[in-house]
Amino acid sequence: MEKRRILIVEDSPTMRQLLVFALRRLKDVEIIEAQDGMDGLRKVSSDHFDLALIDINMPVMDGLKLISLIRGDDALKEIPIVVITTEGAKEDRERALSLGANEYLTKPIQANKVLSVARGLLKID
């Protein structure tokens, strides 16, 4: 079976490591890391991805900008996107979802929640 490719765009190495730890439990996945929005855009544009987890507050290019660029690109717009952020306010969630995010997770993240959302969007058990 072909591996599913997941992109993690997050500036904090601690969060990236934690997300990798959680997502590694999914079978047949390949996890690629990007350290800011620009790095994420480069990676998402140069290869195929089945899922992207994107932080909002990042240097160089923030997550909301990255999401709007992905959704505005015909070749990329179908990629399921999970937003991971410290912002728990309703309006932040609505803003991210209106830009095209599929799911919205707030920090501190729970590995079970990340796994369940990833499984749902990747349509795997």
């Binding site: 490591q17 730890f21 410290t86 728990g88 920090k107 501190p108 729970q110 590995a111």
Partner: protein, 272 residues
């Protein structure tokens, strides 16, 4: 990440194996049930044939009563076993959830300690401490203090949520914060927010061999964070010990680097 990290999921795989065995047993029960159903059909068929020959009827009737009794006993036994297996499965499911939670907690603790010891640059260590407190604990406003050994003053060296200049220093052993640090025990006050930066909601003393070298004081939590969990208290312990040694080591390394540069400067002067 190393093999140490991946090994913590091995037990999860083991429990998945046990679940598969449970599923296999249930499948076997269903096959057995089907076999018995077919057997009953055969018996019924024999019954119809015997009805045409009255001499065999009594013999068949006795046989049938025996078969039915056996089947009933077998059925009762299977039901009992099924109940046992269901109970076992329920226990495994509960244990699986517990182990998964334990794995998640261990992963958090592993990541926290791994990151804290990944650098000898004091600014990087402070950045990692901040990342852990935001991302793993869910604090919104907090400060990191380091002890100035000369006058026992705890100075703010990093803060999140407010500029460090807005958070006052404190004296070891004085005020809520100073006393909590001197007591060398993590202290949680019964509140989730404090706008007074001398009265935190949590104080995590950073200590090496019970000797305070600083502290992390949390003043408020992220909006979505309702309170502290058992994992948070474990993280407080990790920070209290590992952040302290990481900061201490980074400070020593920085000092030795500076001394080395000075000595190198002198040597360069002498050899010119």
């Amino acid at each position: 990440m190393s093999d140490d990290g991946s090994n913590i999921f091995d037990r999860q795989e083991e429990f998945l194996g046990i679940f598969k065995k449970g599923a296999e047993f249930t499948r076997e029960l269903m096959i057995e049930n089907e076999r018995l159903r077919r057997k009953l059909l055969d018996v019924e068929d024999g019954q119809h044939q015997a009805a045409r020959n009255p001499d065999d009827w009594e013999k068949l009737r006795v046989e049938l009563i025996g078969t039915i009794a056996n089947l009933k006993e077998e059925n009762r036994s299977f039901r009992e076993r099924l109940t046992e297996v269901e109970e076992e499965n329920r226990k495994f499911a509960d244990r699986y959830v517990e182990i998964e939670e334990e794995n998640n907690n261990l992963a958090n603790l592993y990541v926290a300690s791994y990151q804290l010891h990944s650098t000898l640059d004091i600014d990087e260590v402070l950045k990692i401490v901040i990342e852990i407190v935001i991302n793993l604990i869910g604090a919104e406003v907090f400060a990191v203090y380091l002890l100035d050994g000369k006058n026992e003053e705890l100075r703010v060296v990093a803060a999140e949520g407010v500029p460090p200049s807005e958070i006052p220093s404190c004296q070891l052993g004085k005020g809520s914060l100073g006393k909590a640090i001197a007591a060398a025990e993590t202290t949680c006050w019964d509140t989730t927010r404090s706008d007074d930066y001398t009265e935190p909601i949590v104080c995590i003393p950073l200590q090496i061999e019970k000797r305070p070298i600083g502290a992390i004081a949390i003043f408020s939590l992220l909006q979505q964070k309702e309170g502290f969990t058992a994992l948070d208290h474990e993280l407080f312990n990790v920070l209290g010990g590992h952040a302290a040694t990481a900061l201490f080591a980074a400070r020593l390394y920085g000092q030795s680097e500076r001394k080395l540069n000075t000595i190198q400067g002198f040597l360069d002067l002498l050899t010119q």
